[in-house]
């Protein structure tokens, strides 16, 4: 009897909680809601150390927090969500830690590929930004399968930045742009001669269309957790007019209310940032 009462109370609490989230989302939606939000998911290891948890628990809880945050973003109507899942610099960590994180990511990608996952429920297209050749074959295959299975979805776009740094992204984009220019030059040489071919140069838009992050508009807000104030080689090119929001909360502790605070901060600065975007 007592167990039934407890589960009834929990169920009512959950429903009231959901109702409250929906109400707050409706109020927030009166103002401008970001189209694209990016997260630097900092603080997983610190969380693990603070609570004396088993190694790897911090990252596991961090991935749980990421999936929950993705759901909240979808419910708020934020179309593009990007997370800094694994930097090229993170390969400098201990091999066992890298392997643990990669196994966790592979598991998550496989979970998201399943028919009952939030990917299919919310109609989310998954995309991977980064030098995927640096990933081991099983992880890369899991990522490619997730991309293939969700390629036809278009309501929301979720990007994992994995084996990614912004400087690597820029060099890669420049390389692709140069190769494209090279082909155009050869074509022009054949048809119009050397003079016309030599006028071809690489422009900013040529570089931008080859960026890994060309699938999404520039982020409106970049949220970094655990109180850090740097971008750590993340979306440096794309964040000229982004609201850079830092919160002392560790990533595994992030919840709906932290997202609300970040969006409120964006709304406070929205008109100024919109004015700056128009100047570009």
């Amino acid at each position: 009897m007592e167990r039934n009462n407890i589960s009834t109370v929990r169920s009512i609490n959950q429903k009231l909680g959901n109702l409250l989230w929906k109400g707050v989302s409706k109020v927030l939606s009166v103002g401008p809601v970001p189209t694209h939000i990016a997260f630097i998911m900092n603080g997983n290891r610190r969380y693990e150390q603070n609570l004396n948890l088993v190694k790897g628990t911090g990252h596991r809880l961090g991935l749980d927090a990421m999936l929950t945050m993705l759901m909240h973003c979808c419910e708020l109507g934020i179309k593009y969500v990007t997370v800094y899942a694994f930097s090229i610099d993170n390969y400098k960590r201990k091999p066992e830690e890298v392997e643990r994180v990669m196994d966790l990511l592979k598991f998550t990608f496989e979970l998201l590929t399943e028919k009952s996952s939030i990917a299919h429920h919310y109609n989310i297209k998954f995309h991977f930004s980064g030098n995927l050749d640096l990933l081991s074959e099983p992880v890369r295959n899991a990522a490619e399968e997730l991309m293939a299975k969700t390629a036809n979805y278009s309501k929301f776009v979720f990007t994992f930045c994995i084996a990614y740094t912004s400087t690597d992204e820029m060099v890669h984009a420049i390389q692709e742009a140069c190769e494209e220019r090279q082909c155009e030059m050869q074509e022009l040489k054949r048809n119009c001669g050397d003079y016309e071919a030599e006028k071809k140069t690489v422009k900013i838009m040529d570089i931008e269309k080859h960026m890994y992050m060309a699938v999404a508009p520039d982020p409106d807000i970049v949220v970094r957790t655990a109180g850090e104030n740097r971008l750590s080689n993340f979306l440096l090119w794309q964040t000229a007019n982004s609201d850079l929001y830092s919160t002392p909360t560790l990533w595994p502790e992030m919840n709906f209310w932290h997202l609300v605070l970040a969006v409120l901060d964006y709304q406070r600065n929205h008109s100024y940032l919109k004015k700056k975007k128009k100047l570009l």
Partner: protein, 255 residues
């Protein structure tokens, strides 16, 4: 039929009322947040005065040597306040900061470069004393001036430098595809076109929002970015606090 029409009108009124209520709640939330930030602003102002007067002991010693290169991003509308910029630079010189990059999106500061260099005691233009990347043991404060064209446009120019080298090398064979450019080559190319300044350790943003406003992307990989508020309300104590906080930061660089 009349009943259905009345029901539709009633639903419409309820929807309008609901919409109005939501808007009122939204404005109320933002008023509360503004009040919070106003109170926080007063507390920060008080703290900065206490720091300036030397009351707060922990800010009395500043390990400014750790700050090798400082960048200041200023909102372009405020960049016209050259007297404020000069005062800020004088404060930095007094603190012992040796190398500063001044940035605003529209290049207003670049246009006032000569005036600023003339007014700030001991300031020289970056590049005139720069030799072999040595940023230490300088008696003068070096000033660099940058704008949006030193960001994406500079990267595009550097890309063309790399492109020309690529074309001249004749590397057109399919088998040579892969990573033909490296980050170090990109850094060298940026230096070639005159946009190869060092990476700032700390970037202070003077403006309404914490936003780097297009500061050259290649140079802010691991830069600490701190929002200082509008330039018109800049305070010496806040500057000391930001630099002090920076000197206590420990970075893992991904490790």
């Amino acid at each position: 039929m009349d009943f259905k029409k009345e029901m539709r009108i009633l639903c419409s009124w309820i929807a309008h009322f609901g919409d109005l209520l939501l808007r009122l709640l939204w404005h109320l939330v933002h008023v509360i947040i503004s009040l919070f930030y106003f109170t926080l602003g007063i507390a920060n102002a008080l703290e900065s005065y206490l720091i300036s007067w030397g009351v707060l002991k922990r800010y009395r010693s500043l390990h400014v040597n750790k700050l090798r290169y400082l960048a200041i991003v200023v909102e372009s509308e405020e960049a016209y306040e050259t007297s404020k910029i000069i005062a800020l630079l004088q404060w930095l010189a007094d603190i012992g900061v040796k190398h500063v990059c001044l940035y605003d999106m529209e290049g207003i500061l670049k246009k006032s470069k000569d005036f600023i260099l003339a007014k700030v005691d001991g300031a020289v233009l970056y590049g005139e004393t720069h030799e072999n990347n040595k940023l230490l043991d300088q008696t003068h404060m070096t000033l660099e001036f940058a704008s949006f064209c030193d960001g994406k446009e500079a990267v595009a120019k550097a890309a063309n430098v790399l492109f020309m080298k690529y074309v001249k090398s004749g590397a057109t064979d399919q088998n040579q595809k892969g990573h033909i450019f490296t980050e170090s080559q990109m850094t060298e190319a940026l230096k070639t076109i005159g946009s190869g300044g060092p990476e700032p350790d700390l970037l202070l943003v003077y403006g309404p929002a914490r936003c780097h406003l297009g500061f050259p992307a290649w140079r802010i990989r691991y830069t600490e970015i701190v929002h200082m508020g509008p330039l018109k309300s800049m305070k010496y104590g806040s500057l000391i606090k930001a630099i002090h906080k920076f000197t206590r930061v420990q970075q893992n660089y991904g490790k």
